[in-house]
């Protein structure tokens, strides 16, 4: 626990119907002031239910929600001081942008609306109605409306899923900067790994109502705990091998491991951690290219290495054709995985 601890979720569980499946199963996590946490997982993993329990729209069966040490579990949603921005933004269609923002505003000054609109870069939109705004503008109004209530924590439900791809990355960067400068903590829910990795400080991967792994985005990406996390966060090569101390023998040869282990292991090796080059004159190839995927600034090669198909990401410096005999080399360490049932 740190001094900036803002939100603590303790052993939250929720089951729908008496005999229904468990939506959220003994979930616990913490968030610091100003931190951005992503709950990421496939649809139906319980991430939105978790969000709604934090917001106060769902009552947990067991567990507690604490904000700055205060137990909010039985506090009604409107008294929690936690903002929420919905997937479809839920702007009030019969009110103007200005009225929407003023609706929940903590302060009543004349310039409140202008200030928050300015914050999200929508100066002069006060008199518009929600149906006269684009998706991105609606989202920013929804954020401005939440900001105006001055919460310390805002929950975002799939915040970028309703924006088109071109807008998404720009919106992400802009809103992240906005949130960081306002010092507001965020819990957001997404099923998009790229969104989670680029937007969050910390990510928590959920599956079947539980958190499988949480940590800094880079850390979780680099050292996934199991095959589910490894494959859910981007592409990876899952190899079988036999480990002995810090190394494992696989179809790609002897690989260094991130941590020592022994016996049969599954290991994860990200495609960008592999190097590829055409064999030289008298060199023995260890693989043959079976497919090439050209993606613009980089390429993915599918290489048959001793009967195992491996993906290799390479920059444009090498351009190899299908059928080329190649040597694949590991650049870095492979991650041994916990055994889980997929």
């Amino acid at each position: 626990m740190t001094d900036n601890l803002l939100l603590s979720v303790r052993s939250l569980s929720r089951r729908f119907g008496r005999k229904g499946p468990v939506a959220v199963d003994d979930l616990s996590f913490d968030i610091d002031t100003g931190e951005i946490l992503a709950l990421i997982g496939p649809s139906g993993c319980g991430k939105t239910t978790t969000l709604r329990m934090i917001a106060g729209f769902e009552t947990p069966d067991t567990g507690r929600v604490l904000l700055s040490g205060r137990d909010l579990t039985s506090t009604p949603a409107e008294q929690r001081g936690i903002g929420m921005v919905f997937q479809d933004y839920a702007l009030f269609p019969h009110m103007t942008v200005g009225e929407n923002i003023r609706f929940g505003a903590r302060r009543n000054g004349r310039d409140v609306v202008a200030r928050y609109l300015g914050m999200v870069g929508l100066d002069g939109f006060e008199q518009r109605y929600p149906d006269q705004l684009s998706g991105g503008q609606q989202q920013r109004v929804a954020l401005a409306r939440s900001f105006a209530a001055e919460p310390r924590l805002i929950l975002l439900d799939e915040p970028f899923s309703n924006l088109d791809a071109a807008l998404r990355s720009a919106a992400r960067r802009e809103i992240r900067r906005l949130l960081k400068s306002a010092g507001i903590a965020i819990v957001f829910v997404t099923h998009d790994q790229e969104e989670a990795l680029s937007f969050a400080d910390r990510i928590a991967i959920m599956r079947d109502g539980r958190i499988l792994q949480s940590g800094m985005a880079q850390e979780v990406y680099d050292r996934p705990a199991d095959a589910f996390v490894a494959t859910f966060l981007g592409r990876t090569n899952l190899l079988e091998g036999t480990a002995e101390g810090g190394f494992a023998r696989t179809s790609l040869g002897l690989l260094p491991l991130t941590r020592p282990t022994s016996g049969r292991v599954s290991i994860s090796l990200r495609p960008e951690r592999l190097g590829i080059r055409a064999v030289e004159a008298d060199e023995q190839p260890n693989g043959r290219i079976v497919a090439v995927e050209f993606k613009g600034h980089d390429m993915t090669y599918w290489v048959d290495c001793d009967g195992v198909e491996v993906q290799v990401d390479a920059m444009q410096s090498v351009r190899l054709a299908e059928g080329t005999p190649v040597r694949v080399a590991v650049d870095g360490e492979a991650v041994p995985l916990d055994v889980v049932s997929l």
């Binding site: 949603a77 409107e78 929600p130």
Partner: protein
């Protein structure tokens, strides 16, 4: 995502606030009273008599006749209302506002006037033979009653279907179109399933109306439960048998209500997409314009032109000895009965609908079913039940204005549910949640976010109840304070004495009075879920 659906259906909901529970209890108790009275009355019979009454073969005959009549009316009504609703919402036909008004206008025609008009059309002395030389077979029995009832109940279907068409997100149809489906396939697989709740709800309303109506049925001499009850009460004075017949009618109502529950269970129609709903691109009628107009002209002629012609015919005898002062008194009396009743009904209906949607459960379901039961209870039995209870428990209430209001509200409260329920379903719960996440209490969130958008359906519901009270007869007749007079009472007493000419001005008064309000209904209904932006642009 289907988050909304999942969350409103599953799990425990918090305890409903008293603000919703108290009105619901009032409605529940008020609408249960008549059934209770009927039971007390029915059990008055001694044991030997009882078996004979219950297993009388005539009961089966009445049941079959009632079911046949309901089937005929619903079929005819849907055949009129569905194409009409589609025409005024989805095609490029012109004068949509006027057409909607004309289609809703028959609401203003009392059932007995409609039946009389049809009778006057056919037969040897009928209009058809006198004016056009065509001798139509006399309209009697099932087909006569069925036609009369469908011609003045189809507007309920029309209004509900029209509102459903307007509230439907055209994106569903457009995406089906983009999947290469034909208009017909889209209509059957996309549009109809979405219309289904509105359809079933209005079938229920009309069906219940049919089994409770006796004016048109009596004139058409078609023997169904309500007619038999009426003759037992007024003619044979066998009130025990009448009570038993009423109980059987109630059983039929309960069966209909359970059937409705079974077919519309677990359906959610809140929009899940982003942005606002758009107005659908109209279908070009092209050469079908002519057919469309012919269809509408025929419907308007039969449903409104005909009664007007018959009334006009009578007016030439009634006008010379017209008592204007009496007409004025009756008009004011009608307004004083219908206005407050409509507003009180809405005040009770909104909390009950909110309870059923936001706090679903045994209690909410029970109250809703009871309200429909109150609506389905034949007005005559309802009125007598109120008389009985006033005399037993609070004699000072007998023939008081307060009891009259109470009876109106309890028998019509279910009528106001439809528009409010539809609007609330379409508004969804997310915006209220958004408001609460901004730190606003549930009550304030409802007041600011939902209520402004409920104004239109509320006004529409009010007007619907208003018109029903204007045309209502048995309750007014039995419960009105001494000397109180309404248009309907005047029509009834004069028609009853065979003074058709004298009755005509009052009947015309009812039609004018109600058609004015039908126009107002259209102004307010259907716009329930439109956003402010669209309302401004239109």
């Amino acid at each position: 995502m289907t988050v909304l659906a999942t969350f409103t259906r599953a799990g425990r909901t918090p305890r409903p606030p008293l603000l919703l529970v108290v009105p619901a209890l009032v409605v529940g108790i008020g609408t249960f009273l008549p059934a209770f009275y009927l039971l007390v009355r029915a059990l008055d019979a001694d044991a030997s008599q009882l078996g004979e009454i219950v297993f009388r073969q005539r009961n089966l005959f009445l049941l079959l006749n009632t079911l046949k009549l309901v089937a005929v009316v619903l079929t005819l009504g849907t055949l009129i209302a569905l194409p009409a609703a589609w025409l005024v919402t989805r095609t490029d036909i012109r004068f949509k506002g006027l057409l909607s008004f004309l289609m809703a206008l028959p609401l203003a025609v009392p059932g007995y006037v409609m039946a009389y008009a049809l009778l006057g059309l056919s037969g040897y002395y009928g209009f058809a033979r006198q004016w056009a030389g065509i001798s139509l077979p006399p309209l009697h029995g099932l087909w006569g009653a069925g036609l009369a009832l469908s011609l003045y109940t189809f507007p309920y279907l029309f209004l509900n279907l029209r509102a459903a068409f307007l509230g439907m997100d055209p994106a569903f149809e457009e995406s089906a179109q983009s999947l290469g489906k034909s208009r017909l396939v889209i209509f059957c697989y996309i549009v109809l399933p979405q219309l289904w709740p509105a359809m079933v709800a209005s079938w229920l309303i009309v069906g219940l109306y049919v089994i409770g109506d006796f004016g048109a049925i009596a004139l058409m001499r078609y023997e169904v439960f309500s007619y038999a009850i009426f003759t037992q009460y007024s003619g044979a004075f066998d009130r025990t048998y009448a009570a038993w017949l009423s109980l059987m009618l109630l059983a039929l109502t309960v069966a209909a209500l359970s059937a409705q529950r079974a077919v519309t269970r677990n359906r959610r129609f809140a929009r899940t997409g982003s942005g606002s709903a758009r107005i659908a691109r109209p279908v070009r009628l092209g050469r079908w314009h002519f057919a469309a107009w012919a269809f509408i002209a025929l419907v308007v002629l039969c449903s409104f032109g005909l009664p007007l012609m018959v009334l006009g015919h009578w007016m030439q005898f009634g006008l010379p000895k017209m008592d204007w002062a009496q007409l004025g008194r009756a008009a004011i009396g009608t307004f004083m009965a219908a206005g407050p009743a409509a507003i009180l009904t809405m005040v009770l209906a909104v909390p009950v609908v909110l309870l059923t949607l936001r706090h679903p459960g045994l209690f909410a379901t029970l109250i809703e079913r009871l309200a429909f039961l109150g609506y389905a209870t034949p007005a005559l039995a309802f009125a007598l039940a109120m008389v009985f209870f006033a005399l037993r428990t609070a004699p000072f209430l007998y023939q008081s204005y307060a009891l009259l209001m109470f009876a109106y509200v309890m028998s019509f409260v279910a009528l106001a549910f439809g528009p409010i329920r539809l609007a609330l379903l379409q508004i969804g719960t997310r915006q209220e949640e958004a408001a609460r996440a901004l730190g606003v209490s549930p009550a304030a969130a409802f007041m600011h976010v939902v209520l402004p958008r409920l104004r239109r359906p509320m006004v529409a519901g009010c007007l619907l109840v208003f018109i029903m009270v204007v045309k209502e007869l048995p309750i007014t007749y039995l419960l009105a304070p001494m000397g109180y007079s309404t248009l309907a009472m005047n029509v009834f007493s004069r028609t009853n004495e065979g003074m058709m000419g004298d009755a005509a001005p009052f009947a015309l008064g009812i039609i004018l009075f109600s058609s004015l309000f039908v126009g107002l209904i259209l102004k307010y209904e259907g716009g329930a879920v439109r956003t402010a932006g669209e309302a401004r642009n239109s």
